[in-house]
Amino acid sequence: MALNDLLNALEARATVVTVNDRLARRVREAYGERCRAAGQDAWETPSVLPFGGWLMSLYAARRDAAFSGAPPAVGVLLSPPQAEIVWARLIRQSRDGGELLQPVAAAEAAAEAWRLCQAWRIPLERLAAGNDDSLAFAGWARAWQRLCAQKGWLDSAMLPDWLRDELDHVTLPEQLVLAGFDEWTPQQTALLDAISARGVAVSHDESPVEQGTVTFYKAADAEAELQAAAQWAAAGLRADSRLRIGIVVPDLETRREAAIRAVTAAIDPAALAPAAREQARPVNVSLGAALASAPLVYDALLALRCGGATFDLADVGRLLRSPFVGGAEQERVRRAQLDVDLRDHGEIRVTGGTLNRYAERAECPLWRHHWQAFQNALAAAPRKGGARVWAEVIDAALSALGWPGDRGLDSSEKQTLDAFRNLLMDFARLDPVLDAPMDRAAALGLLRRMAAQRKFQPQQAGAPIQVLGVLEAAGLDFDRLWVTGLDDRRWPARPEPNPFIPLAVQREHGLPHATAERELAFAAAIGRRLFGAAPEVVASWPAREGDVVLRPSPLLEVGVRDSEFGVRDEGSLDWRGQIHLAARLESLVDDRAPPLAPGAAIHGGTGLLKDQASCPFKAFARRRLAAEAPALPAPGLDPAVRGQLMHAALEALWQTVVDQATLAGMDSASRAAVVGRAVDAALEREAARRPATLSPRLRELERARLADLLEQWLELELARSPFRVLARESDAELAVGGITLRFRIDRIDALDGGGQAVIDYKTGRIGGGVWEGERPDEPQLPAYALARGDDVSAVLFASLRRGELAYRGVALDWEGIRPLYKGAETADPAELRREWRDTLEALASAFRDGHVAVDPKNGNGTCAHCDLGPLCRIAERNDG
């Protein structure tokens, strides 16, 4: 293209208006380079503007003209978010818009259709020829038009026409050059005509495009395509570090990060390292990401969601790990631990009180301080307010939270902070278009939406490789250019006409993307421009996407279309491959841990034996390394809590009832009363611990459930031979295999017929064979029995599961008791005790001696319920 002509025009003080920002920057840079080449170290900044920016400058000039005595301009230009709010309101209030799934998104679509109508001069009456969709839109558009007229508003779609009427009041350049445009809308043409009618020399940069040499490349898939392009760019750079190299990626919005990664890895992999900075990358990407997804902003928006009486545990967890909350540097690991504690606690929503209590225990004073201040700031806000009011609240709350943290901001974080503040300012500017004050949810919703729509790209030094989208590439020139994604579905793509304007009207006015013919011409034009943008061009397509086979675009010339060339040159940098090849591995037997220090404290009682039986490695990791993964709380009461509730209720119950005779002596009313009190006592305690979960009605339901279950259970107690409850929740210990286990026995009954029963309440399912063999699944009852000595004559599970209520175990007196396993009735008690002791001895001493075999009892079945896989590396062994 004729960059030179443009520069000449600039030298003659012309204003150059470009199709996009990127081209404007390029022209400005080129102008600077030319000046420097001519030996100048300073020059008057040339007037180069993208089209939109140029219109804005005319608008501003027109407004300022009022200071100089021009009549005040009627027309306030609404910002896009301002316009969107108004559109959304009109749509929501309309007959057709009330029940849309996304009225706000509809506003965006409507604004776009409106822009098309303005740009292509489609009178609203023409919409009557369409379907219900266009009729509805016509209604909105008319309402919008009326409102704008009434209020003196205009939007960017109307701006060119408005300016055309106001040209008298602005100073125009003598010469105007337009660069990089493929097509003009009638609206734009009218404006330019009016400008040239005022004596401005308007010219178009229409120098013929020369095709470069185009080579074609077929890549296995999109990933491989980017890698090939990156390596090709690297090779170019190695040959000449001053080359201007471009890579065009059509769906850049989603491929942005992939492109950065591929190119950087091919040139300077170290620049991707965690500590590396944005500036140090050899690649520049034309498209920013949504501001809302920048970590700094993301966490701010996340925090703002957490106001009120209870908080979502997952949100709190993220904030606890956020580097952007005040005090995170000092309390990093402790806050993470606090998250783990809260998850163990097990509520999916937590109250402020719970959070504060745990935070205190976890020693996170800074967190408590900031969180409290943050909540106070939010609480101090009025229930409803305007945008400016909310902007100040948000700002104050975030400062109270210590946001953006004390890690120190790097350059791109600083820019993000600035961008967020600008956003907040823009938000504050919404007031003139709001019709009513907003509550907090509405205000935050608006802010979030604005943050999601705003694109943000931290400034970065000029890098040798440019990655661009198709439209951003318009008009640019390169030394080498690679165009990716040229498969036959995307190029040309299927037409996507605007749904609000009747197709016939679109066809008649020649709207872009409206018809197949139009789309084909469009793709061809873009192609011509791209292939002319550098003397050397590579065009590539991915041969498949997932399991779908793609074909090259038919717009690539036949003949060469199938040609391929290799890009992987010898010296290409594949750091990962190099590391892989440098592998030097050793294998050693490592299944012994140091024996337990004598007298070392052991946690967890009989659970240790259970783990050891299930998998020795598990016992080691859990008990000695305290290896626990953070829990995953679920809604409602989890099984463990329900078990505790049942335990507590039974404990309370037997505290009052004492023995079977008492129970038998009660009539049903007093029995119900005792049960009710026991259940209430249990729930009372739990509700204090879990205020967010045990909400009133759930608590009622749980009360009914427990009472019902207990009443049924008491029938079973009555069916047994007479007994007296000797101890509840009684502490005991057992020395076995050189270690001493401490535990708590749920209940011990003295049997009137002699001996004692040790009882374990069980709310979970009881499988068969839980005591059998060398690796019993449930060794706790045998341990209890051994701990209680020879007087034990019954060892019982109390199965408290709905539908499975029963006493099961071994006993001498079987009245009301079911055998736990086949043959239990005939088992010899002394023999049984011996077996149990041997089994427990073996398990305990293996643990003590540090035998750490990775040996799950039932293979995959055991591992399925264990989260230590990454630590024990069982998968590696299975892999062979």
């Binding site: 900044t45 998250d339 400016r388 003139p432 440098a582 030097r584 892999d879």
Partner: protein
């Protein structure tokens, strides 16, 4: 109709049907069994139609997958391209395609379609994609507003909706009671109820339409009664007439015996029976009595022996003899047996009051959940595929008032072709119905449905084979469909086809049944007459899987020997079933290509990466932290791990940074730990400054991760993991480790790049549409997994003269066995599943070209005369096949020497710790030299201090600058204080739109006005604004300073009488109290560098003395100094 259709095809018996199928003005439904060449037929019809339409968009072809759409498009385009040749190819079927494509080329030229340049014009899509495009075209009619994102995984959305639904428990209003009722019913298990609701939301297209219809108790109970009646009618019809009399009479005698004996057996109901019970629900008890007389409930056969317990005491010899004779005569009556046995599982014909209450509550709850889901969709701006289909349906209008699609699509849809029609779901079917609403028989629009009901295997994705049968019988909407069937099998040899014909004719149900999805078998004709190959049974006895792998490996090795180029596939129903076989193949040196078989999460490389991710994201995830110290890149021994972490609750990262603690490790362990710490430290310090993937991937590289993987396939697997991380990235963080696990569990390891592509292992579902020379079907004795409980069970029963019946049963209460209604409907659904299993077997078997191996195992049991075979577990595929292959098993069993018990379980393999060698070093990262231009110095400009007052001050500054610029341009003489004051309303409007709050407005305006007026009154101010030599305001200058490009806008510059260049900026700040001079000097220092930069720019352009100045309009303050770092002087 023009006669371009060539009737001489090589399709033998199918020639006529294939030819008819190309008639462009008729609608068809084609049954195209395995190997019948349906893709070609579809392509040919598509081409044929293309030659008749005005625009290619008028034809819509719908495929089941995107892959299939791509393939069909490919075929069509290739055919059109190939037709450029002037001579037709010699094979008749290809010649036909050529001819059809030729006509398309002519049409293309005539109509200027330019298809070759624009293949995207062909509408060949999945139904999902088409539905999405409809909603894009009709966003308002569809009730959307704008087409939302379509979430491939919508589970999170369902969970959110379910959670909100259950939260209604605590809200006042009707919902609370419904939630409470369900919770009470389900043991107050919130988590379970949530899960069940989520499962329901995932198939709401099915139940929404039934609960929308309203649910009156009488209507629903009448439906149940009709169902029971229908079953009893079928039962009554199946009673062998000759035996009816004896059945009744002997049962009555037995019943009377039992009554006399005081039994409470169900048989007693028959004490008064004099004739067969009627086929009415009231007689169900009589039928049950009959059943119990002749059948034992647990057995699959008629009773073998009759005893006193059944009412046949030994003393009544004659009765007992007659009864025993009857049993012998009943022997073969399998259908009667099955129907009679089914009376035990008949659902009741009325709801109990508690069931009814729960059903009502459930329906309320489901409605609420659906409504909540809509809200969630709206908020998140993304929806699931079901929603798109439902919305597309809505966009198409009501059946009697269809939307005019021609307006929206620009073309009138003229023809619709649907592939794999047997796997259509209800919502898809409804969409087709709606698309064709308003079509009249002779308007030239056609439907063309192709599929094979025998191959319907996507029930788990809501496919409903009954819909195929229904369409064939009744058409779709008003469109009648001409049934055609293809019978020639082009794929398999006669030997294979023969076996399949014989086996499946016996296996498949004899009669078609829409409701049950029963499809009779259609026999195939082998095109390949060769008797090569065939079907072989691999019979195994009493073994638990170990020898299966060995047998399979042996047979594959044998095949490889005799025919090395053959393709072999092992097809499995579920992925778990072939793990042992895969391992055995590996050991035998056969690297099979496992297609989506091994879970990605099972790969050690992925587990290590997941642990690394979790550890970086969560400093207190202790398992993850220990794991990354144990992983090969670090490889701490158990002893070192214990030394580091035992008895210390502090986080592992804290422990690693505790130098004393580190001392307790072995020397080698310490070195290893330190190497890892050095890599982790920067990653932790900079956490969330990079995207998640980059943070993890780069750390992994730094640790030497790629050196630790098992092989190149694992580098690909690592890539798959990283791709997932990109999806899960939330602002640089992994917010939910559980989501990572969940997603990993859905991904599969990539096949090894060096795998043998001729040996593949995959699921039967994956194999659909493929073919192999040899197919092995392992583990036929395994039972399929049974369905999960669901909140609401429903069945649809079409009725000829009325709306279909819906049978509804709410979930049974927690842990309570035996809800006859739920169980009764469940049995009916299970029957549908069993039929699907048969179809799955058919699909698997028909993949084989030459050889099919069926591998199954049965138990043997000891009998008096040696061991005999026990029948395989019912509901396994082997049980289905058993009548066909029992004989093979028996002869195989006769041939095996009596198996000796082998003791398989040995010691576990010793634990080997794999790790990098102690002295391993990371290769340094390579680098190509590239020149970075200096970064723009943004950091300096960032206002860390932010205040709302400051923001207003900035706006004030902007306007003061603008006004002073105006004054300078127009000339001082034209400005007066009065003129300035008159600007107040303009300023007010400007400030207002700039977000200045009402309270600040007044002061701000005053400040601007006073700044300008005081400048006008100030001598210095006037001097600045006066026209001088070269005076310019807002002067934009660029240039190079200290090697970097700078630009700036200078508020005011000119050359004075002495030839001095003045460079002046305005500063609108004010100062409260304090020494004015001190303030001015501070400001000078603050802006000195900036003005000096401007000075250097000027210096590059001209040779002049320079002076710099700051002017403060608000204060009328001034400070100046000479440029180039010379000491400044100030004067007032």
């Amino acid at each position: 109709m023009d006669r371009i259709v060539d009737r001489t095809m090589d399709a033998g018996a199918d020639a006529a049907a294939r030819c008819e199928a190309l008639e462009p003005d008729r609608s068809f439904i084609v049954q195209a069994p395995a190997g019948s060449g349906k893709t070609e037929l579809l392509t040919q019809r598509y081409l044929r139609l293309l030659a008749t339409v005005e625009a290619p968009e008028q034809i819509l072809a719908i495929t089941f997958t995107r892959k299939a759409a791509g393939e069909m498009r490919d075929r069509v385009l290739n055919a059109i391209a190939a037709a450029a040749a002037d001579e037709p190819p010699p094979e008749p079927h290809r010649a036909l395609t050529w001819k059809l494509a030729r006509a398309v080329r002519e049409r293309d030229a005539e109509q200027c379609w330019r298809l070759a340049d624009y293949p995207a014009r062909l509408r060949i899509d999945t139904l999902d994609a088409f539905a999405a495009s409809l909603t894009r075209r009709l966003p308002l009619t569809a009730g959307l507003g704008m087409t939302p994102r379509i979430a491939e995984r919508a589970r999170d959305l369902y969970v959110e909706a379910a959670r909100r639904t259950l939260a209604a428990l605590e809200e006042r209003g009707g919902w609370s009671d419904a939630v409470a009722a369900l919770l009470g019913h389900l043991d107050n298990d919130v988590q379970q109820l949530e899960g069940l609701l989520v499962a329901m939301l995932a198939k709401r297209d099915q139940w929404l339409r039934l609960i929308a219809r309203g649910s009156e108790r009488e209507v629903l109970e009448a439906a149940l009664a009709r169902e029971v009646q229908a079953q009893l009618e079928a039962l009554r019809a199946s009673v062998p007439p000759a035996l009816a009399g004896d059945l009744v009479e002997l049962a009555r005698s037995a019943a009377n015996n039992l009554v006399r004996a005081g039994s409470d057996s169900a048989q007693c109901a028959c004490a008064e029976l004099i004739a067969l019970p009627e086929a009415v629900p009231e007689d169900a008890a009589l039928w049950r009595g009959l059943a119990d007389t002749w059948q034992a409930r647990s057995q699959k056969n008629w009773r073998k022996r009759l005893t006193k317990r059944e009412g046949f005491p030994t003393d009544q010899k004659e009765l007992k003899q007659r009864a025993t004779d009857l049993l012998i005569r009943l022997g073969d009556e399998t259908e009667f047996h099955a129907r009679l046995a089914a009376v035990h599982t008949l659902p009741p014909v009325a709801y109990s009051d508690s069931q009814w209450t729960i059903l009502q509550a459930l329906i309320e709850l489901l409605k609420l959940a659906a409504a909540q889901l809509q809200l969630v969709f709206g908020e998140q701006g993304s929806v699931d595929f079901i929603e798109i289909a439902l919305r597309a349906l809505r966009a198409l209008g009501e059946p009697d008032a269809p939307t005019d699609l021609a307006l929206a699509l620009d073309y009138r849809l003229q023809h619709i072709l649907v592939d794999e029609f047997q796997d259509t779901s209800w919502s898809q079917y409804a969409l087709l119905e709606r698309l064709t609403a308003g079509w009249s028989p002779d308007d030239g629009r056609t439907l063309f449905l192709v599929g094979d009901p025998m191959q319907s295997i996507y029930r788990f994705r809501e496919a409903e084979v009954g819909l195929y049968l229904r369409a064939r019988r009744e058409g779709i909407g008003d469109v009648r469909l001409q049934p055609l069937s293809l019978n020639v099998n082009f794929r398999s040899t006669a030997a294979v086809v023969g076996w399949i014909n014989k086996a499946f004719a016996a296996l498949f149900p004899a009669a078609e049944d829409l409701a049950a999805g029963a499809v009779p078998y259609a026999a195939a004709i082998a095109r390949d007459g060769g008797e090569e190959g065939g079907v072989e049974i691999i019979a195994r006895f009493d073994a638990d899987g170990e020898d299966e792998a060995a047998r399979i490996v042996a047979l594959i090795e044998a095949r490889r020997q005799s025919a090395p180029d053959e393709t072999v596939a092992i097809l499995t129903r579920t992925r778990g079933q072939v793990a042992a076989t895969m391992a055995a193949l590996r050991q035998a040196g056969l690297t099979a290509q496992a297609v989506e078989l091994e879970n990605l999460a099972a790969r050690p490389v992925v587990q290590d990466l997941a642990a690394l991710t979790r550890a970086l994201a969560h400093p207190a995830d202790r398992v993850a932290w220990l794991a990354i110290l144990r992983a090969p890149w670090c490889g701490l021994t158990l002893a070192d791990l214990a030394a580091l972490a035992e008895n210390d609750e502090r986080g592992i990262w804290e422990l690693l940074n505790d130098a004393e603690r580190l001392q307790t490790l072995s020397a080698d362990g310490r070195e290893r730990a330190e190497r890892v710490i050095a890599v982790l430290a920067p990653a932790i310090e900079n956490w969330r400054r990079q995207p998640l993937r980059r943070s993890v991937e780069q750390t992994w590289l730094g640790l030497g991760g790629p050196a630790c993987v098992a092989g190149p396939a694992d580098l690909d697997n690592a890539d798959a993991f990283f791709a997932l991380l990109e999806e899960l990235d939330e602002a640089g963080d992994l917010s939910d480790a559980a989501a990572l696990d969940e997603r990993l569990a859905e991904l599969y390891a990539r096949p090894a790049p060096d795998a043998d592509t001729r040996l593949q292992v995959m699921t039967i579902h994956k194999a659909k549409g493929l073919e192999f020379d040899t197919v092995v079907l392992p583990a036929l004795e395994r039972r399929p997994r049974s369905d999960m409980r669901q909140l609401l069970l429903w069945l649809e029963r079409p009725r000829s003269d009325a709306d279909p019946d819906f049978l509804l049963a709410p979930i049974a209460a927690a842990e309570e066995a035996g809800d006859a209604l739920y169980d009764g409907l469940k049995v009916l659904r299970d029957q549908q599943d069993e039929l699907e299993q048969l179809r799955l077997l058919y699909v698997a078997a028909t993949r084989a070209r030459r050889r099919l191996y069926l591998v199954g195992q049965v138990r043997t049991k000891a009998e008096k005369d040696g061991r005999t075979l026990a029948p395989p577990p019912s509901s396994s595929l082997l049980a289905k096949l058993w009548p066909q292959i029992e004989r093979d098993f028996e002869s195989a069993f006769a041939a095996v020497p009596q198996a000796t018990e082998t003791d398989a379980a040995g010691e576990p393999a010793p634990y080997l710790l794999r790790r990098l060698a102690s002295d391993w070093q990371l290769p340094p990262p390579p680098r190509i030299d590239w020149r970075a231009e200096a970064a723009p110095d943004v950091a300096a400009d960032t206002a860390i201090e932010f205040s709302w007052a400051g923001e207003t001050a900035r706006q004030v500054g902007v306007l003061v600058h603008a006004l002073l610029d105006r004054v300078a341009r127009e000339g001082l003489e034209r400005w007066s204080a009065a003129r300035v004051d008159a600007l107040a309303p303009l300023l007010e409007e400007r400030l207002c739109w700039q977000g200045v709050s009402p309270a600040e407005l007044e002061p701000a305006i005053r400040r601007i006005l006073s700044a300008v007026t005081s400048t006008l009154a100030d001598e210095r101010g006037r001097w600045l604004l006066t026209a001088h030599d070269q005076s310019v305001s807002e002067y934009a200058l660029s240039g190079i300073v200290a090697g970097r490009t700078v630009s700036g806008v200078i508020d005011r510059t000119f050359v004075d009488e002495q030839g001095v260049r003045w460079i002046v900026d305005y500063k609108t700040g004010g100062h409260e109290g304090g020494d004015r001079q001190v303030f001015l000097e501070r400001e000078r220092e603050r802006y000195r560098a900036q003005l000096e930069t401007y000075a250097r720019l000027f210096a590059a352009r001209e040779q002049r003395p320079q002076k710099l100045g700051l002017y403060f309009p608000v204060l009328a303050g001034w400070i100046e100094w000479p440029a180039c770092g010379r000491k400044g002087e100030s004067k007032k």
